[in-house]
């Protein structure tokens, strides 16, 4: 059965990708919230925020990208949930295919859909004046971290999609993730925040990820924060993957 895992995953990913490309509104909805936030912060609040020599659009882009991913994975949970409710899921389970292919198809589709949304948001940021002198290695680093972050949140979304009882529950889990960047270094430097808030902001995953991406884009040395960022992403990924596996086995047995 394992020999068919790759082939089956490719076929099933083709199916879920069609769900994305035939409802492009989900891509637009995913991208529109971060774009509106970007406009709001750049042209309303941004003037009052001092970010030194870096333009404000460039400063906040890393945080905006994380918000894009956090809102994108809500659809991953939703698509998985809808699949589990219909009879098609049982048909797949009764067929001679690799059973985990069904989940991996959703994970790969989530990755692809998020990449599309991220490209759209970066495109809008370029129109708004985002510029980066980063070279290819730095851009690859940024892409790598974003992919890792997407995978980590996608496996969280898989848990939500497998266990949620309703559509609301299936997407509500993403709200805290969308708001996490606001209490981080994503929009304002953390040293202006009062003590406890600052302590939280500086020790939650988003700050290290945002700082690393920002340093890469602005050609600053990344320092040790990149290891903190990677550890957060890998840690969330592993824990979410294990719990998603448990939820999946409980669901199919």
């Amino acid at each position: 059965m394992a020999t068919h895992f790759l082939g089956d995953t490719v076929v099933l990913t083709g199916r879920t990708m069609r769900h994305v490309t035939r409802s492009l509104d989900t891509i637009i909805t995913t991208a529109i919230t971060p774009i509106v936030m970007m406009l709001l912060f750049a042209y309303v609040f941004g003037g009052a925020i001092d970010t030194g020599p870096v333009s404000y659009v460039t400063y906040m882009l890393p945080g905006i990208l994380l918000i894009t991913i956090a809102s994108g994975i809500a659809y991953t949970a939703l698509r998985l949930m809808m699949d589990m409710q219909g009879g098609l899921f049982e048909r797949f389970q009764s067929m001679p295919i690799a059973r985990s292919s069904v989940l991996w198809a959703h994970v790969l589709t989530s990755l692809a859909a998020n990449v599309i949304s991220l490209v759209v948001v970066v495109g809008v940021a370029l129109l708004m004046g985002f510029r980066s002198g980063a070279g290819l290695p730095a851009w690859l680093g940024v892409a790598g971290i974003l992919v890792l972050f997407t995978l980590a949140l996608t496996w969280l979304a898989v848990i939500a999609g497998l266990t949620a009882k309703s559509v609301d529950g299936g997407s509500a889990f993403s709200y805290p993730l969308v708001f996490l960047p606001f209490i981080s270094s994503a929009f304002v430097p953390t040293d202006t925040m009062p003590g406890p808030v600052r302590a939280f902001a500086e020790h939650q995953p988003v700050t290290s990820i945002v700082n690393t991406i920002r340093d890469l884009l602005t050609r600053q040395p990344v320092g040790t924060e990149i290891w903190t960022a990677l550890a957060w992403c890998a840690g969330i990924l592993v824990v979410a993957y294990i719990f998603a596996g448990i939820a999946y086995r409980r669901r199919i047995s």
């Binding site: 076929v11 099933l12 219909g86 098609l88 049982e90 009764s94 001679p96």
Partner: protein
């Protein structure tokens, strides 16, 4: 297992490589299943001969779906044993999945894909050659050629069910489970499904059908079993079942048309009007 020799996959007309010619297609012994306190199955025994249609009757909640889920490897029984096409449903689940297809109570189709894409998807998951050709052939057989490129979300209930059954035929599995295939359908759509099941039986496929419509069992089934309070209380051919009752009395009654007769007389005979 050498289940996937390439020459066996050339087309749908070749019997599946898993065909184990000996013994009954389905053998169930002492099956028990409880959901917490509720004992749904309390020792179910039956056999289904190869190439026959077996109807499992029972009211809502009698455990028909539980039996089908255990036989299709979706659920594990608490006790008892079941073999499908010679494979044990627990220890040889992979062999069972190679031998069956399941049409559950809710149409197992993808509403966002077209009918043809649904069939191609299943054919590719069976690792068959020429998925497109198989899809076109099945669309034709089930009178869905015209609707083939339309999104399934736009199909009527009967069309969805027909597509559902067509998808179950991909890969030509020797055993097919139809769990309440006509539940919630209007009379016309029911007739369409009946037509499809009849075609299946003619092809030599073993069919296990669950239903709560008695006329459905009467129409097709070679054998009928009644599942009641977790056990099979009756199992036999229609003729045998009828002998359980006192001999028929001869009475003269003026035959009034049933509402179903009227319905079909008015709308034209169902299941045929959209075939050539």
């Amino acid at each position: 297992m050498t289940l996937r020799q390439p020459f066996m996959l050339a087309g749908m007309s070749i019997p599946p490589a898993t065909d184990q010619a000996q013994g009954p297609a389905i053998h169930v012994q002492g099956l028990e299943k409880a959901y917490k306190e509720l004992r749904v199955l309390r020792g179910v025994d039956f056999e289904v001969a190869r190439g026959s249609i077996f109807a499992l009757l029972g009211s809502n909640g009698a455990g028909k779906t539980t039996v089908v889920k255990i036989l299709s490897t979706l659920l594990k029984a608490d006790a008892g044993a079941a073999r499908v096409n010679g494979f044990d449903v627990v220890t040889e689940a992979a062999g069972v999945r190679e031998s069956i297809s399941l049409t559950g109570q809710f149409a197992a189709v993808d509403g966002i894909l077209s009918g043809r894409e649904n069939l191609v998807l299943i054919a590719r998951l069976w690792h068959l050659k020429d998925p497109g050709g198989i899809a076109d052939e099945l669309l034709r057989r089930f009178a869905l050629t015209e609707a083939g490129n339309r999104k399934v979300a736009t199909y009527s209930g009967g069309m969805r069910r027909r597509l559902d059954i067509a998808m179950s035929l991909v890969g030509n599995p020797p055993v097919i489970f139809l769990d309440e295939p006509t539940a919630g359908l209007d009379p016309q759509a029911r007739a369409e499904v009946w037509q499809a099941v009849k075609e299946l039986a003619q092809g030599g496929t073993t069919v296990l059908l669950t239903t709560q419509y008695l006329d459905e069992a009467e129409q097709f089934a070679d054998r009928i079993a009644i599942l009641h309070e977790g056990r099979i209380i009756v199992n036999g051919t229609l003729a045998e079942l009828k002998q359980l009752l006192p001999p028929a009395k001869v009475e003269y009654v003026e035959k009034q048309p049933s509402l179903e007769d009227v319905f079909f007389a008015v709308v034209g005979h169902a299941g045929e009007d959209d075939k050539e």
